[in-house]
């Protein structure tokens, strides 16, 4: 078991707030993704707002209600809604219906595979549709909390109550269940495919080393972890949920076991979102008071991107090149920082 204690300390901050291009999405935002250099703000309901590099914005209708989940592979975005629909958006702002749940039940989670397969879940059932293959589904014992494809091979992790199930949609063999008591919500594979990590309903993460299913318990959070991001190269897992960014070390074969996490960018507010720079040891963090910071992992140096005094930051993302950082708060006040 690993744990940490939080002791905050103030740091002097360089500001780039004057370089941020403000974006008025106009409605509450749940997530942001990049398709190339176009930022796509996913509304809490109904629409997505595309913001091109030249600042031109357009709105695309997606769902007939709340947008419950979204994911991107950089080329497309897939969303799930409370209208029972799975939708796909491409860089040309074209929306396409991928699937409709028969009873119009909520699509709670979506995931994308690098090879183009799409997964979604509704209730206890996870679905996978791969290119040129039949749609397949798998039922777990309780409602699916989260979905993630492994970085290699066709393997889907399904988080649920009392553990996570590893399902191999292309194999007849039984799925593999990783057990740990409690409700598991978010789920992620490490980029090197060695670890699986879940965020739990209680304020903790749980991890398994996939080679031997060895447990890794990561605790100490004052609040639930809603946002997780692997740092560049997959050496660490940055998380929200505390008054600092918590980064668990995953470089060694034992993962974070017996080690202290790094604690960076302390503020008098809870970290609500984290997003890792795709290439450098830099992390963006959004806070419950609306602050957005960039933090250098090597020395903890901070740069202020957005001041506090708004609702929590609800969306945060880098483009693939790491030259643009987009963010939005819950009410839809958004911005893009070119670097």
């Amino acid at each position: 078991m690993s744990g940490f204690d939080i002791s905050g300390e103030a740091a002097s901050i360089v500001s780039v707030t004057d370089r941020v291009r403000e974006v008025a999405v106009g409605t509450p935002v749940g997530a942001v993704h990049f398709l190339g250099d176009t930022a796509v703000f996913i509304g809490a309901e109904e629409n997505a707002t595309f913001v091109k590099p030249d600042g031109e914005t357009s709105t695309v209708a997606l769902h007939g209600g709340a947008i419950l989940s979204s994911v991107t592979d950089g080329k497309r975005i897939v969303t799930g809604g409370d209208d029972g629909k799975v939708m796909q958006l491409d860089a040309g702002a074209k929306a396409e219906l991928i699937a409709t749940e028969a009873k119009r039940r909520w699509i709670d989670n979506v995931a994308l595979h690098p090879d183009g397969a799409v997964a979604w879940s509704s209730g206890k059932i996870a679905y996978v549709r791969a290119p040129k293959a039949e749609e397949k589904f798998f039922e777990v014992p309780s409602t699916v909390g989260g979905l993630a494809f492994a970085p290699k091979g066709m393997r889907l992790a399904i988080a649920h109550y009392n553990g996570a199930t590893l399902w191999f949609p292309n194999m007849a063999a039984n799925a593999e269940m990783l057990e740990w008591a409690g409700s598991h919500l978010g789920v992620m594979f490490s980029p090197d495919n060695r670890f699986l990590v879940t965020s739990m309903h209680e304020p903790a993460l749980h991890g398994w080393r996939l080679a031997d299913s060895r447990h890794m318990r990561m605790t100490g959070y004052p609040g639930r972890v809603r946002s997780m991001a692997w740092t560049a190269g997959g050496k660490g897992l940055a998380t929200s949920g505390a008054d600092t960014v918590i980064i668990w070390p995953f470089a060694s074969k034992d993962g974070p076991m017996g080690k202290q996490p790094a604690m960076l960018a302390p503020l008098q507010a809870r970290v609500s979102m984290v997003a890792s720079h795709p290439k450098q040891d830099i992390l963006a963090a959004g806070y419950s008071d609306g602050t957005v910071l960039m933090v250098r992992l090597t020395d903890g140096a901070e740069i202020l991107v957005r001041r506090n005094g708004t609702p929590p930051v609800a969306a945060l993302a880098w483009n693939a090149q790491g030259t643009l950082l987009a963010f939005a708060d819950e009410d839809g006040a958004a911005g893009i920082l070119p670097l």
């Binding site: 709340a66 709670d108 639930r224």
Partner: protein, 350 residues
């Protein structure tokens, strides 16, 4: 900028009741009556509601244990998820109704509002409303522990189908209810015809609205008390404790226990005692509530709890004309009455 909508929490009414009591009838009334409000409804038996509403959500009643290894500390995992999704549609509805299955224990629903930070930030539990069948409740209280739980847990009881029973039978079932839960508001109805203001926006879990803790049947002027008066004087004389003619029953395993002190309590003794009590006996205690006068404290202190989960706060200054009296009530199963009374007595400041 924080909008007013973000600050005001959405009220959530929990609608319980044994199979066939009339929950769906009440729900349909709430949804179809012209009150100008829009409700999001979380239901179990999808399709029973004949009203088209895109805010009717099917739920699976997933009861999750918390990781403290205690069987009474549970939350509704599906509710956490559904409320999270519903909050994305803030502004599209005014209140939420959670309908449970006939066999459900209301505690996990209520406890979700005591422990989940997201739920607590956006929604508030308004009241547990239990629909009971006047004809069959007495039987169900004998053979269905779920039915007893739902009565014990209720803030409001809609005693439905009174047209199917005689006056004497109605008195009988009311007395059975009061033996378990003398504090709930009780509304005898036909076809769930109850004023919606009597079941919605009750603020039963609002600490600011805990005004007094008195058994309902002692309150004067309650407009359905006349039911009892009819039989006054010639009905079961030998068992009567109350002038209203209501029979006094003692339920074998579910009771309420009321404690009272007109001397102030010592907070340094009471708080640890209460914490300890719910830690050790919380599995038996379904609901608890208290108004407390502490030594050296000009404010009323109020608390409420569900099983082991407690919340409490200073409420307001005691008024000059108000007796500084402490009242505590527990409703539960096989409560260790003498131990609780002794423990409470030791909290009275010397």
């Amino acid at each position: 900028m924080t909008t007013a909508a973000a600050l005001s929490k959405i009220p959530v009414t929990v609608l319980t009741g044994y199979l066939g009591a009339g929950k769906t009838t009440l729900l349909n009334r709430i949804l179809s009556e012209n009150h100008g409000k829009k409700y999001a409804v979380i239901v179990n038996e999808f399709g029973e509601i004949g009203i088209d509403n895109d805010l009717i959500i099917g739920a699976d009643e997933e009861v999750f244990e918390m990781n403290n290894g205690c069987v009474c500390c549970t939350v509704r995992g599906d509710l956490v998820r559904i409320l999270g999704g519903l909050m994305k549609r803030k502004g599209k509805f005014d209140a939420i109704i959670v309908e449970t299955t006939g066999l459900a224990d209301p505690a996990p629903v209520a406890q979700t509002f005591f422990v989940d930070e997201d739920v607590m930030a956006s929604a508030r539990l308004d009241a547990v409303v239990t629909v009971a069948d006047a004809k069959w409740l007495s039987e169900r209280l004998k053979d269905a522990p779920e039915a007893k739980n739902q009565i014990a847990f209720a803030d409001v009881i809609v005693l439905n189908k009174t047209d199917l029973v005689s006056k004497a039978e109605l008195l009988e079932v009311e007395a059975r209810i009061r033996a378990i839960n003398p504090y709930a508001k009780l509304h005898p109805t036909e076809r769930c015809k109850v004023a919606l203001a009597d079941v919605l926006e009750r603020g039963a879990f609002d600490l600011d609205r805990i005004l007094e803790i008195e058994p309902e049947f002692l309150e004067a002027g309650d407009d359905h008390d006349h039911h009892h008066d009819h039989d006054h004087g010639h009905h079961h004389h030998d068992h009567d404790h109350h002038s209203h003619g209501l029979k006094h029953y003692h339920d074998e395993d579910m009771q309420s226990l009321s404690l009272k002190s007109d001397k102030p309590l010592d907070p340094a003794k009471f708080m640890p005692w209460l914490q300890q009590l719910v830690q050790t006996e919380g599995g038996k205690i379904l609901r608890s509530k208290g108004i407390l006068a502490f030594t050296g404290d000009e404010d009323r202190y109020v608390f409420q709890g569900v099983h082991m989960m407690l919340e409490g706060d200073h409420q307001r200054p005691w008024k000059n004309d108000e007796p500084r009296e402490s009242r505590v009530v527990f409703i539960g199963r096989e409560l260790p009455e003498q131990a609780i009374r002794d423990g409470f007595a030791k909290c009275i400041a010397q």
